[in-house]
């Protein structure tokens, strides 16, 4: 038998970003004993990088806003593939989830009346994003962290889960190792909440942090959970493109919310050239009307830069492909131009977008109060993930396994609106924690077999026992995977490329499984990367398989060989599951019919 420490909890939460922290807080509040596992140090998770704001229909800035408008905006933005019940719960509960943060120490920017201020964002009909400058994610994660550390939660920092443990068909815990010494820990739990975030590290150009290796997606899949909507990977339209070392770092949509405009190399504001029919009525006709919207004219319609992310990203790519891009293959994003309208624009920009100012100044030598930025699409968010029950967030196929935040799917459909991820992780983090605690209280203790644990330990240790010199090493292999996904399964996809990607992934998988790594078990990033690679390849396989199957372009999924939306695909989600033979299986599943009252809301909101 292998040596390992056993830790037992009612609820174990894997991942300590916004969703994981919120779930842990709720589970503890419901009386459960809670273990919280973070891959990094506490408070460093990817939530920290969210910038623009958290979407909630507080109606503090525009009293025409309500949960109904937020619901309709979310569904429209997701091209109606969303799990409508999640979209409903999200829109209804987000305001309360945001307000309660201030009771835990958060300090959002204010309106002149002293209420929480809200800003414009793409796809949201009214100013809806509560924010703190452009560091909203930091505010949220620190608030949840500082509240959570007083709630009796056991935090396990720099601990990585390598496998979910099962008791029959029920999720019963997880095997993990600590980074510092490579010691194994068995977390035994009656309920497990997966909150591991996204998959961006499967792509070369990404805004995502180191940890985003699809761990939760892959671990849940291996344990028998269904994945859904995996073809929908959001490419945020504005990442940095120059210099090369910062390529992909996010430039917040808040820049456009504050009046930033997109121009091509000819100085043309190209976003006015092509407005999708779904948004024709709600988009400004002239730059003048667009500016009036930015400064809060309720009669004005939003500028085309604030269309949804899928559309804006595609338009930038088009400009570049047709030879009108910026010098380093992007478009120009100009916020400095607002000096035409605002007297002290320099101070205004620094105050509204402090970290953007800082980021461009330090990393690119650009002063955004005076010059335009160069921006281009960057892999940003996985709409797809673990398929869950809309109310409880429990996996549709694995009892005792819950998921929340980016690693869960359903809320965003084919495309996520900016600001809806931070509200997602609050609303569904809370729900996952609540229902996990309830499940734990209502179910018998779990039993773990030693053989299962021993096998999982051996699997995790195997890279250290193989020859490290036999292949290119884990980092280079990850690079090859990223290049492959970027080229063949990125923002523009087609049949042949996806088929090639599928074949190449099988070869990469074989190589990754044979990968050896040098060094010891003590804080060895080479070993960790080798293990991460297995997860990355599993999610890459899921993305490629679903992208190959969906023969239309919708939301974030663009097929060069099927350029249009196909109504037949508009009622179908793609569900992936591990088959009995160990191969990934895909099936189409019809979206349940939307209740009459929700349909009415969508129709009323146009």
């Amino acid at each position: 038998m292998t040596q390992h420490q056993v830790l037992e909890y009612d609820v174990v939460v894997i991942g300590a970003g916004g969703a994981g922290l919120r779930a842990a807080i709720e589970a503890a509040a419901k009386g459960a004993s809670v273990g919280l596992i973070c891959k990094s140090l506490l408070g460093k998770a990817h939530t920290v990088m969210a910038e623009g704001g958290v979407a909630a229909a507080l109606a503090n800035v525009d009293d025409r806003d309500s949960w109904k408008v937020h619901f309709a905006d979310t569904m429209r933005g997701g091209h109606y593939l969303n799990a409508w019940r999640m979209a409903e719960l999200h829109a209804k509960e987000a305001p309360e989830r945001v307000r309660e943060l201030e009771g835990w120490g958060a300090l959002m920017d204010r309106t002149p009346d002293g209420l929480i201020n809200q800003r414009n964002f793409g796809g949201h009909a009214y100013p809806r994003l509560a924010h703190v400058g452009d560091r909203t994610g930091l505010e949220m994660i620190r608030t949840l962290q500082d509240h959570g550390i007083h709630e009796g939660i056991d935090v396990h920092m720099e601990v990585t889960v390598s496998k979910l443990l099962m008791d029959g068909g029920r999720c019963a815990g997880a095997l993990a190792y600590d980074r510092e010494l490579g010691r194994f820990k068995v977390f035994k739990a009656k309920a497990v909440v997966m909150a591991t975030g996204g998959i961006g590290r499967a792509f070369l150009v990404t805004s995502n942090s180191w940890e985003y290796t699809g761990d939760g997606h892959a671990l849940a899949y291996e344990a028998g959970a269904e994945l859904v909507d995996m073809e929908f990977v959001q490419f945020h339209p504005t990442g940095m493109v120059w210099p090369p070392s910062v390529r992909g770092i996010l430039v917040t949509e808040g820049v456009r919310g504050e009046g930033g405009i997109l121009k091509n190399s000819e100085g043309r504001r190209f976003m006015f050239d092509d407005i999708p029919p779904l948004y024709k009525e709600s988009t400004a006709d002239t730059p003048e009307e667009g500016w009036r919207y930015v400064i809060g004219d309720r009669e004005a319609r939003r500028p085309p830069e604030l269309l949804t992310r899928d559309h804006v990203a595609r338009k930038i790519v088009k400009e570049v492909q047709e030879g009108r891009g910026s010098p380093h293959g992007g478009a120009f994003l100009d916020i400095a131009w607002i000096q035409e309208h605002i007297k002290d624009s320099e101070d205004h920009i620094k105050k509204k977008l402090p970290s953007m100012y800082h980021q461009f100044k330090e990393l690119a030598g650009i002063d955004i109060t005076k010059e335009p930025m160069e921006v281009g699409p960057t892999t940003h968010y996985a709409m797809g993930g673990i398929r869950v029950d809309s109310d409880s967030q429990m996996s549709t196929t694995v009892p005792g396994l819950f998921a929340a935040g980016e690693c869960a799917a359903g809320l965003h459909g084919a495309n996520r609106l900016g600001g809806n991820s931070l509200s997602d992780l609050l609303v569904f983090g809370k729900r996952a924690g609540e229902y996990a605690a309830e499940f734990s209280a209502g179910n018998t203790p779990v039993h773990l077999q030693d053989e299962q644990i021993d096998l999982a330990v051996q699997e995790a240790l195997s890279p250290l026992e193989r020859d490290p010199g036999a292949d290119v090493g884990p980092y280079r292999l990850q690079y090859e995977l990223q290049q492959l996904m970027q080229d063949k399964a990125g923002i523009a996809r087609e049949e042949d490329g996806l088929a090639e990607a599928s074949d190449e992934l099988q070869r990469l998988k074989t190589r990754a499984q044979a990968m050896g790594t040098s060094g010891s078990r003590e804080y060895n990033p080479g070993w960790h990367t080798t293990l991460d690679l297995q997860n990355l390849i599993t999610v890459a396989e899921a993305v490629v398989m679903a992208s190959h199957a969906r023969k239309e372009s919708r939301g974030a999924h663009s097929r060069l060989d099927y350029l249009d939306k196909d109504p037949e695909w508009g009622t179908v989600n793609l569900v992936l599951k591990k088959g009995h033979d160990g191969e990934m299986e895909l099936r189409r599943e019809g979206i349940p019919e939307i209740p009459k009252e929700l349909r009415k809301i969508i129709e009323e909101q146009g």
């Binding site: 550390i149 935090v155 980092y475």
Partner: protein, 249 residues
């Protein structure tokens, strides 16, 4: 592309040494890029902590040419080109391996500090009215990314190792954030004076200088807190009032 010489500290709690690497440096490279290149091409198990590589998470703190820095925000072309660039772990904390240090002490200190406690909400929906002017004081402190560079540079911790009686600048910023929050009702003055040991700080402002977020730690957080400690603890009139009221601490 040009080649730059890096000297990177490698070792563990038993000791270690600077090892020399020649690294090809692309345009715009930051120190963390160079470390990653060494890791990918030469030393696969080189230990370095990092997450966002965008100056937002505060994970990749180290000493670059002897100065506390975030490796992801330190551009190679802004360092002197005529000598090797040294990269070492933060000195104030115990080394785990290579560039990674054990910063867990900071998390323990924070958990020991009296938590945020809001007054009753102003509205039925659980919200409070706050003026932008009033929230901005604390918002400055809430920019902190917990990189612990201020802790690393502070001589009370770095040279005198008073970790058991001095909380350090990061935690005074944390306390200031709560004390100046318009809706907080907590009083942490006695704690500041006793357990958190703010008196050991002799305002040399080293912490302010290294803060990557530009927080004016000394002037805006520490000095006002010190004043509160003095006012409450040593003001004879205040002490008399406390004695009479019988609520002395």
């Amino acid at each position: 592309m040009k080649t730059t010489t890096f000297k990177v500290w490698q070792g563990n709690s038993d000791g270690g040494e600077l090892k020399t690497y020649e690294v090809e440096v692309d345009q715009g490279y930051v120190v963390l890029d160079a470390i990653h290149r060494i890791q990918a091409e030469q030393v696969n198990d080189l230990a370095v902590r990092w997450n966002c590589k965008a100056g937002k998470c505060g994970s990749c703190s180290a000493e670059v040419n002897g100065s506390p820095k975030l490796m992801c925000m330190t551009r190679v072309d802004e360092l002197p080109a005529d000598k090797p660039i040294t990269v070492e772990p933060m000195r104030t904390f115990p080394v785990v391996k290579d560039l990674v240090t054990d910063v867990s002490w900071n998390y323990e200190v924070k958990a020991s500090i009296k938590r945020f406690s809001p007054k009753t909400a102003d509205h039925e929906d659980g919200s409070w009215d706050m003026d932008q002017y009033d929230v901005e004081r604390s918002q400055e402190f809430r920019k902190c990314i917990e990189c612990f560079l201020c802790q690393d540079v502070c001589h009370v911790l770095r040279d005198h190792q008073l970790h058991d009686r001095f909380a350090g600048p990061r935690h005074y910023v944390h306390v200031a954030n709560m004390e100046m929050n318009p809706i907080d009702t907590g009083d942490r003055v006695a704690e500041l004076r006793e357990e958190l040991g703010i008196g050991y700080c002799n305002i040399t402002k080293c912490c302010t200088k290294v803060c990557p977020e530009g927080i004016t730690i000394t002037d805006n957080a520490i000095i006002p807190l010190k004043e509160r400690v003095v006012d409450q603890s040593y003001d004879p009139l205040a002490r008399l009032i406390k004695l009479v009221k019988g609520s002395g601490d």
